[in-house]
């Protein structure tokens, strides 16, 4: 369970997004919104990358502001347009993030293999295409045992095969809140979307 209470996020006094109250049970949620509507800001706040007002609480009463470490252990995030230092290899990042998230090497390699990252695992990020960076970022979001997986625009720059892998991996997540964002429509017949939201007037509304 993921719970927002009196959540709001703004920059320099300008409100970007507010969620007075929302409880999300495990399942897949699709959040839509135009460019600049605040999807990424919401996700970054949820991932603990931006400060915010209000509270975000996971089941077991784990509060992002009060138990930042425990919260982070349970929340994985993949950015819309990932960037990594060019001198790091996919292996460096998989091992680094994997060890922080308590994922063993076999699991890291399995996920890398599913996304086809094993083909360029020892190459440096500075040589990657945007699709390769996206695959790596998505793979990192599946490491460990997350309770919330946030995928910001997960389908952009992905090839058909990787798209199939990603949807399969999302489907296989059990007892996990999955938040997907997309400003485009995509075929969701393969995924059991629990609820769709749209960001309207700086807040989430059901579609």
């Amino acid at each position: 369970m993921l719970e927002f209470k009196d959540f709001s996020k703004g920059y320099n006094g300008n409100l970007i997004i507010t969620i007075p109250e929302l409880k999300l049970a495990p399942g897949i949620y699709w959040i839509r919104g135009e460019n600049g509507s605040g999807k990424s800001t919401l996700f970054k706040s949820l991932a603990g990358l931006l400060p915010y007002e209000g509270s975000i609480v996971l089941s077991d009463n784990i509060n992002l502001q009060q138990q930042p470490l425990e919260f982070r252990r349970r929340v994985n995030f993949s950015e819309a347009e990932p960037l990594f230092p060019g001198f790091l290899t996919a292996k460096d990042l998989l091992r680094f993030v994997g060890s922080a998230r308590g994922s063993d090497v076999a699991h890291q390699n399995e996920i890398a293999s599913k996304f086809g990252i094993d083909a360029f695992i020892d190459k440096r990020c500075e040589t990657y295409s945007s699709g390769m960076l996206k695959k790596l970022s998505l793979a990192l979001a599946f490491l460990g045992k997350p309770k919330v997986v946030i995928l910001d625009e997960p389908l952009i720059t992905l090839d058909e095969q990787a798209r199939g892998v990603l949807l399969g991996m999302i489907r296989n997540l059990e007892d996990v809140v999955v938040l997907l964002s997309s400003h485009q429509s995509f075929d969701t017949s393969d995924l059991h979307i629990k609820e769709k939201f749209r960001i309207v007037n700086k807040t989430l509304s059901n579609e």
Binding site: P51, F84, A100, T127
Partner: protein, 361 residues
């Protein structure tokens, strides 16, 4: 000035001076602050005295031209500047020349000054050297700019030995941060190391000629580690911008602190080594370890300060200056170094603990 020249000038020339504003300010301050007119004339007379001496300014101009060429090559590779790749489709050579002349203006101006000085002294060979040098530099800059825009190479390749090394093992966090800092700001790292080591070396040499207590040694360490606060700024930038996900990972706070301290120990290895090898004989080993601990506590406090609120590098360096002055005074007035170290450690730790997860870049 045609449209090509205008766009290229604004994209490359204006930006070149803006990015290097500090460099030019220092150069102007040196030339017009430290040196009087009569000294300029004496120096010019010296340079044009013989063809060999004329090679001194020419050498400096070559370094400056290399700086310009590297800047242009790097700048046109940025995605925001990819629109410039359509330039070679038209007659862009006048635009390239305009940019080259604009960027080389400081050396052209000084070269002209030397040229007329040589003319006065009828040093024909020196005049030719100056003319040929400046002409070549304009041509080379123009050619390299045209080449960069005509043959844009975005493909990056990794040298084989480094590729083999990458395959051997995954980098630990402290390695990632150390390498990230060195790669993002190589010039800053090298200059910091050189300056910091020279400060320590210079100060410790004074012990050979006179009797001082440990305060001079500690003041040198303070100045050296203060210089390294610039690297702490890069560490934090890497952490919150380039390696953004680092803060969202469930890494225990203690491990984050250990990563920071180990990274700083790696980066400050030259200073630590110089402090050890140049420790005056009559100062105890405790003074050495006190200096290291004090330095690390200073870096930790600076790191904590960076998490209070987002500040730019210039503001941070101003703060470094005042803090360093204050710390030098505390050492001078015999405040026990371990007390200062303890205060810095505690202040840094509290600031980081309080603000780390709530910081907004």
């Amino acid at each position: 000035m045609n449209n090509f020249s205008q766009v290229l000038t604004r994209t490359l020339t204006t930006e070149f001076y803006r990015v290097n504003a500090m460099f030019f300010l220092v150069a102007i301050g040196f030339c017009f602050g430290f040196m009087r007119g009569v000294e300029h004339i004496a120096l010019a007379g010296f340079f044009v005295g013989s063809p060999w001496l004329a090679m001194i300014p020419v050498g400096v101009w070559i370094l400056y031209t290399i700086k310009v060429v590297i800047y242009n090559r790097r700048e046109v590779k940025f995605e925001k500047n990819w629109f410039l790749y359509s330039l070679p489709l038209g007659n862009a050579i006048p635009a390239y020349v305009t940019v080259a002349v604009g960027q080389l203006a400081p050396i052209i101006a000084y070269g002209s000054f030397l040229f007329f000085f040589a003319l006065k002294q009828q040093q024909w060979l020196v005049m030719s050297i100056i003319l040929v040098s400046l002409g070549s530099m304009i041509i080379i800059t123009t050619w390299r700019l045209g080449h960069s825009l005509t043959y844009p190479l975005h493909e990056k390749s990794t040298p084989t030995p480094i590729r083999k090394l990458d395959q051997l093992f995954a980098k630990p966090a402290a390695w990632i941060f150390s390498e990230g800092i060195v790669r993002s700001q190589p010039g800053m790292v090298y200059v910091t190391k050189i300056v910091a080591c020279l400060v320590i070396y210079g100060a410790t040499q004074l012990y050979l000629y006179d009797q001082y207590d440990e305060r001079l040694y500690l003041m040198a360490a303070c100045a050296a580690f203060s210089a390294n606060l610039a690297l702490v700024f890069q560490y934090q930038k890497l952490e919150v911008v380039d390696l953004m996900m680092f803060r969202s990972l469930p890494i225990p706070f203690t491990n984050r602190m250990i990563t920071f301290v180990v990274t700083m120990l790696i980066l400050c290895f030259p200073e630590i080594a110089i402090l050890a090898t140049n420790r005056p004989e009559y100062l105890s080993i405790t003074n050495y370890f006190s200096a290291i601990l004090f330095g690390i506590s200073l870096l930790l406090a600076g790191y904590g300060k960076l998490y209070v609120r987002s500040i730019d590098f210039d503001s941070f360096t101003r703060q470094i200056f005042f803090v360093s002055m204050g710390l030098l005074l505390t050492i001078l007035f015999k405040v026990p170094i371990l007390v200062a170290t303890g205060i810095l450690f505690v202040a840094g730790f509290i600031l980081i603990k309080k603000n780390y997860y709530y910081f907004q870049p």
